[in-house]
C-alpha cells in the first residue's frame, strides 16, 4: 500500500513530523517497508540568489559567486556563466546533487584554485528547456520570497510504502491509515466533505441480483452519469496516480482508481451505451466465456459471480471488468458500479481462473459494506467536476442487510492476555476512535464492530486492537521460569545428536541438502521405494522427494570433485521418504568417502578408500552409540547401488529383520552414469528408526564391573577353509565353544595362493583364553585347544593347517 504524506493529511489533521508519523505507523502494526522519494533527488535543487559576484583571480571567464541558499551563511560557487551577476535569482544544486541532463553527481571541487560548493544550473542542465547559454534566471516577482526552497515542487513528496497484513483491508485505503493514526494519538481524523451534487435523473438501467445459491454479490449500487467528456486527468490527479507508481489512463479510470486508493472502495465504470438493456448479477454457467480488460479470454465454470446484460457476461464481479463494456476516451455515458462481493466467492473464482487484480485483492480481504454510497458520491462528484455530465440517483440493490457485528468484551481479558492494565476510559477511547460503538455495562463492553473491520470477530481481536494502539512497549518483560515439564530430548533425539557428532568425529563434513532431488538421480538410488512427485517443483531437476540421501550426496560430491578436491568425506543426517503421507519418512545418516587415504604422505603409503574403511566407521559409530559389537551380524546383502561383492548390511542381532546399516563400495555403473571421476568411492547408511532404544542404561552398565586377574593365554590357529566360508561364521563357532573361557578372537591373516589348494583360503586366528576362576593349567589349555580345532573342523569343513 503506497501513499504520500500529503495525501494522508487530506484525512488526518496532524502537527506531527513525517518521521514521527512513520514511526507511529510501525508501532501500531502498519509496517513501513520504505519511505522515500519516488523521483530521485530533485529536492536538492534550491532557489538561490547571487549576493555578490567577483572575477576569478586565475581565470578570465569564471566568476566567484556568494550565493544565498536560505541558510545562515552564503556558499561560494565558481560559475562560468556570463549572466551570473549580483542579485540574480537562479537555481542552485548542492554537492551530492545529480544533474538531470547528464546524471553527473556534484561534489565539492577546486576550480583553478578556488573551492566551489555546488553549482548554478542552466535550464538545459535541468531539462527544463534547451537554453544552455548562461544560468537560469528566475522572475523576482515569483521567486524572491522562495530563496532556499526546493525548486521542483511537485516531485518532492516522499512516498510511504506499507506492508499491510491480510487482516487489515481497511488500511488498503489512505483514510483507514489516517483513522488508525488518529486513534493512536497522531492527529485528528478529518470529516469527509462531499459536495451536494444535483441528482435529478433516475438511474435508467435496470439492475437485479439473482437469488442463485452461493450468490457472491449481496449489494450492487449504481449511478448513471450522462453526457460526460472523458479526457486526460487534471494535473493534481495525475500526480497522485504517478506518485504511487501507477500510470494515469483517463479521467474516468483515474477517478475510480483514486477513490479505491483513497477509501478502499473499488468501483467499476461501464460505458453505459455498451450495456444491452439491463444489468443482471448472477452465477455463471459452465462454458460461458468473456474477454476481460486484460485482453484475455476467460472460460468460466459454474457458479462464478458475473455481472451480465442481455447479451452475456460483462465482467467478473469484484475481480475484473470486460472489454466489451469498458470506458474509452470518447465514452459519453457511464454507469458507475459500487458493489459488495463476498471474500469467499472472490477467492474461489480468482483461484480457479488464476486472476490477480487490485480489486480482487481488496474484495478477498473484505470491503466495507457501508461504503457503497460514499464511493458513488465521491466518484460522481469528481467525474461531474472534471468531465461534466448529469448524475442520476443512486440505485442500490441489496440482498443482505449486513448489520454490524456485536461482541461482548470482558475488560479483564485485556490484562489477562497482555499482563498490564489500561484504564477503562482509555480503552473506551481507543475503541471509539477506531470506529467501534461502545457501551459499558459493569465490567463488560458491548461493542458494535465497524463495518470496515471484517477481521474482528471475537474478544481476543479487541485485546489486540487495544494493545497495538496503546503500544507494545507497555508490555512488561518477565523473567523466564525455569520449571521443566519433561526432559529436553527423548531417547531418539539424543541418539540423533550423538550419531551426528560421532560420524563427524570420523572426519566427515556434515552437509545439509534439499529434501527433494532430481528424479533422474533418484531412480538410481530409489530401489523399490515409491517415487514421490512434487506437483509444483521449484525447477524440473528438483521434482521428487528423495528416496535416499545418496541422491544429493553423490550430486554434490561430483561438484566438489569438479572443484579439484579428491579426498572427500561427506555426510548428511536427515529425512528420506517412503510415501507421500505425513510420517512416511525415515531418518537416515548417509555418508560417502572418495579418493585415497594418506595421499602424498611422507611416511605412510597411500591407498584407495575401501569397503573396510566405511565398515569401520559404521561399526565404530554403532559401538560408540552403545550397541554391543559382539551381537552384530553382517550379511553380504545390500541395495543395488552398492558394489555387489564389496558391500554388506549390519544387523544389531542375528535375529533382527531390518538391517540398521549398509556399507560398501558404490557400484561402478553409478559412477559412470553420474560421470563421477574418482579413484574410489565408498559409503554407508545408518537407519536411525531401526536402531532400537538401548534398554541398558549407562548407570546399570557401569555398576556391573567384572574382571579377571588370572593369567591369560594366547593360541594361534590357521584353518584352511572353502573360499566362501565367512570369517564371521568361524568367529561365531569359536566363540560359542566356551563363552566363559574364550575372551577375544582375532583374525590376523587371510591367505590364498601357493601351498593352499584351489578354491580354498587360509584364515589365521588368534584366540585369547582366560578363566575368571583360576589360572589355567597346560592340560586345560590343551583341552580347549583341541576342542577349538575339532569344532571348527566339523562345523565349517575346515582343516587345521599343520
Amino acid at each position: 500500500m503506497k501513499f504520500t504524506i500529503g495525501w494522508l493529511k487530506e484525512h488526518l489533521d496532524t502537527q506531527k513530523k513525517d518521521n514521527e508519523l512513520i514511526e507511529k505507523l510501525t508501532d501500531i502494526g502498519l509496517e513501513v517497508e520504505s519511505f522515500e522519494n519516488q523521483s530521485s533527488g530533485l529536492d536538492s535543487f534550491k532557489v538561490a540568489k547571487i549576493i555578490n559576484a567577483e572575477q576569478h583571480p586565475n581565470a578570465d571567464r569564471l566568476r566567484i559567486c556568494d550565493v544565498d541558499i536560505g541558510l545562515d551563511n552564503t556558499v561560494k560557487v565558481v560559475c562560468g556563466a556570463p549572466n551570473a551577476k549580483k542579485d540574480l535569482l537562479t537555481i542552485y544544486a548542492g554537492p551530492g546533487s545529480i544533474i538531470p541532463k547528464n546524471n553527473m553527481k556534484l561534489s565539492v571541487s577546486k576550480i583553478r584554485g578556488v573551492t566551489s560548493y555546488g553549482m548554478l544550473c542552466s535550464e538545459s542542465e535541468l531539462n527544463l528547456s534547451n537554453e544552455s547559454e548562461g544560468i537560469t534566471e528566475l522572475r523576482t516577482s515569483k521567486y524572491s520570497d522562495k530563496i532556499g526552497k526546493n525548486f521542483f515542487k511537485s516531485n518532492t513528496e516522499k512516498v510511504v510504502d506499507l506492508s499491510i497484513t491480510p487482516n487489515r483491508p481497511d488500511c488498503l485505503g489512505v483514510r483507514g491509515i489516517a483513522r488508525d493514526l488518529a486513534a493512536a494519538g497522531a492527529g485528528k481524523l478529518k470529516k469527509i466533505s462531499l459536495k451536494n451534487i444535483k441528482k435529478n435523473e433516475s438511474q435508467k438501467i435496470k439492475v437485479s441480483i439473482t437469488k442463485d445459491k452461493n450468490q457472491g454479490c449481496t449489494i450492487f449500487g449504481s449511478c448513471l452519469i450522462e453526457g460526460v467528456t472523458n479526457k486526460e486527468s487534471p494535473q493534481w490527479l495525475k500526480e497522485k496516480i504517478i506518485s504511487l507508481g501507477q500510470k494515469p489512463i483517463s479521467a474516468i479510470v483515474d477517478i475510480t482508481n483514486y477513490v479505491m486508493l483513497d477509501l478502499n472502495r473499488p468501483l467499476h465504470a461501464y460505458d453505459a451505451d455498451k450495456i444491452d438493456k439491463e444489468i443482471i448479477v448472477r452465477n455463471s454457467k459452465m462454458g460461458e466465456t468473456f474477454e476481460a480488460l486484460d485482453t484475455k479470454e476467460y472460460k468460466l465454470g459454474d457458479d462464478m459471480c458475473v455481472i451480465s446484460d442481455k447479451s452475456g457476461v460483462l465482467g467478473l464481479g469484484g475481480i475484473i471488468g470486460g472489454a466489451r463494456s469498458g470506458t474509452e476516451i470518447n465514452t459519453k455515458n457511464i454507469l458507475l458500479e459500487s458493489a459488495y462481493f463476498t471474500p469467499r466467492s472472490i477467492r474461489k473464482t480468482s483461484k480457479l481462473l488464476n486472476i490477480d487484480t487490485d480489486a480482487k485483492f481488496r474484495f478477498e480481504r473484505g470491503i466495507d459494506t457501508q461504503s457503497i454510497k460514499l464511493g458513488l458520491s465521491k466518484a460522481a462528484e469528481l467525474i461531474s467536476e472534471i468531465c461534466g455530465g448529469k448524475v442520476s440517483n443512486f440505485d442500490i440493490q441489496q440482498t443482505d442487510k449486513h448489520e454490524k457485528n456485536k461482541i461482548k468484551f470482558n475488560i479483564s481479558l485485556f490484562e489477562k492476555i497482555t499482563g498490564f492494565k489500561v484504564n477503562d476510559s482509555e480503552i473506551i477511547k481507543i475503541l471509539t476512535d477506531l470506529g467501534f460503538e461502545v457501551s459499558k455495562k459493569n465490567l463488560e463492553l458491548d461493542l458494535k464492530i465497524p463495518t470496515w473491520r471484517p477481521d474482528i470477530t471475537q474478544p481476543i481481536d479487541i485485546v489486540e486492537e487495544i494493545v497495538r494502539i496503546k503500544g507494545y512497549e507497555n508490555i512488561e518483560t518477565l523473567q523466564p521460569e525455569k520449571t521443566k515439564i519433561k526432559d529436553t530430548l527423548n531417547a531418539q533425539q539424543k541418539l540423533f545428536h550423538f550419531l551426528q557428532r560421532s560420524v563427524a568425529s570420523k572426519g566427515y563434513f556434515e552437509t545439509i541438502t534439499w529434501s527433494f532431488t532430481d528424479s533422474k538421480i533418484n531412480k538410481i538410488f530409489k530401489e523399490n521405494l515409491k517415487e514421490i512427485k512434487i506437483v509444483n517443483p521449484i525447477s524440473s531437476d528438483l521434482d521428487v522427494l528423495r528416496n535416499s540421501i545418496f541422491t544429493n550426496l553423490t550430486f554434490y560430491l561430483k561438484k566438489n570433485l569438479d572443484r579439484g578436491f579428491k579426498d572427500i568425506s561427506l555426510f548428511e543426517i536427515g529425512p528420506i521418504f517412503k510415501g507421500s503421507q505425513p510420517g512416511e519418512q525415515l531418518t537416515v545418516i548417509g555418508a560417502i568417502k572418495s579418493g585415497k587415504i594418506s595421499r602424498l604422505n611422507w611416511n605412510e603409503k597411500d591407498r584407495i578408500v575401501d569397503v573396510f574403511d566405511v565398515k569401520k566407521d559404521v561399526i565404530q559409530t554403532l559401538v560408540e552409540a552403545g550397541y554391543d559389537r559382539q551381537s552384530f551380524f553382517v550379511r553380504d546383502k545390500s541395495p543395488s547401488y552398492y558394489h555387489p561383492g564389496k558391500s554388506g548390511s549390519v544387523y544389531l542381532d542375528k535375529d533382527e529383520i531390518d538391517p540398521v546399516a549398509y556399507f560398501g563400495e558404490i557400484h561402478p555403473n553409478i559412477l559412470k552414469k553420474l560421470d563421477i571421476k574418482t579413484e574410489g568411492l565408498v559409503g554407508f547408511e545408518i537407519y536411525m528408526d531401526y536402531l532400537r532404544e538401548n534398554k541398558i542404561k549407562l548407570k546399570d552398565l557401569k555398576t556391573n564391573f567384572e574382571y579377571s586377574d588370572y593369567q591369560k593365554s594366547e593360541r594361534d590357529f590357521a584353518f584352511v577353509v572353502d573360499k566362501n566360508v565367512k570369517a564371521q561364521d568361524l568367529i561365531e563357532i569359536i566363540s560359542s565353544i566356551d563363552k566363559s573361557l574364550i575372551r577375544t578372537i582375532k583374525i590376523f591373516d587371510i591367505y590364498e595362493g601357493e601351498n593352499i589348494p584351489e578354491g580354498k583360503k587360509s584364515i589365521a586366528i588368534n584366540v585369547t583364553i582366560q578363566s575368571s576362576e583360576k589360572t589355567l593349567e597346560e592340560s586345560d589349555l590343551e583341552k580347549i585347544n583341541k576342542l577349538i580345532i575339532s569344532t571348527v573342523e566339523t562345523k565349517s569343513g575346515a582343516k587345521i593347517r599343520s
Binding site: T477, L478, F565
Partner: protein, 355 residues
Amino acid sequence: MSDIKKIKDEYLNKLENDLNIESVNQIKTQLFGKNGQISNFFKTLGSLPTDERKKFASDLNSIKNELQDKIDSKLQEIETKEINSKLENEKVDVTLPEREFSRGKIHPVSQVIDEISSIFSEIGFSVEEGPDIENEHYNFTALNTPDNHPARDMHDTFYLDNNKELLLRTHTSPVQVRTMLNGKPPFKIIAPGRTYRSDSDQTHSPMFHQVEGLHIDKDINMGNLKGCLNYFIKSFFEVDKIKMRFRPSHFPFTEPSAEVDIGYEIKDGKIVIGEGDKWLEILGCGMVHPNVLKNVKVNPDKYQGYAFGIGIDRLGMLKYGINDLRAFFETDYRWLNHFGFDPLDVPSNYRGLSR
C-alpha cells in the same frame, strides 16, 4: 693383609681406565672367578688361626664389596655411554609432518539448533519434532488458516497431490498442533526442523529451517513471551544487552501477534548485534489464537500462552557472519570446512554455547 690391599689398589686403578664391557667382565673374572684372586683368598680363610681369621675375613669382605661396587658402577657408566651414543644416531627430524589426521565438521545449522536447544533447555523447554510432509489440515486449517484465507497465499506451498491435500510443511507450526493433540496442558516445547516454500532467490531458499516455540499454561501472558524471547536472544548472541522491539503484526494462528526486531549496526563492514540504530526483523510471535486451542481440544478459557517462530538459518547467518543463505545448502567443501564446527564443540550450558 698388605697383599689384599695391593690387589685392591691395583684393580681400582685398572678400573679407572677407559674400558669396554668385555674388559670389565674380564677383571671381574680375575677377581671373583673360580680361581679369581679374591676368591682364592676366601679359600685360605679356613687355614688361618681363629684370632686372625675374624679380622682378615672382615677386611677381605670390605675389599670385595668395594671392588664389586666399583665394577657395577663402571658397567653402569659404560652402558649409559653406549645408550647415549646409540640415541645420538637415532635422531629424527621432528619437524616433518605428523601422521595424517582427518577432522570432520558439523554444519552450522546443526550447531545452531544445538545452541537453541541448549538455551531453551535452561528455561524448561523440551524438543518436539514432526513430519516434513504434512496435510493441509495440520499446516493450515488447524492453525486458523482456512482454505479461503488470504494468508495462505503468503506461503508458497509445495504440494504433493493435485487436490492440495498433501504438502511440504511451510512452517514448523504444525508440530504445535500435533503436540497439543497428543498431550495435555501445560505445554512447553520448541520444535526445530526443515521447512519448505517454493521461493528461490538470494535471500530465499526452497528449504530452510525454523524453530517453533510454544508455552501454554493457565496464566502465560505477553509479558512471559517478551521475557522468554529477550532471554533467548541475549543468550544466543552471547551479549549482555540487546535492543529489542516488539511490533504488532498478524499471523492467523496468534492473536495478538508481533514481529520482533533487534537493533544492530554495521562496524567495519560487519554486522554487530545488540546496539545501533538499525532494526532487523528476526522472528514472529504472539498469543496462541483461541481458535487454534479449540482445534486441538484445549479449553481457551482455562489455558492460554504464546508461540513463536524463528528462522534458524537466519540466526546462524547473523551470529556467524554468513552472507548467503543459499550457500548453506550447496555443499561446497571449502564453505563447510570454514563455517562448520568441530564435532567436539557441543554447545552446553556449563561449557558455554560457543568457544
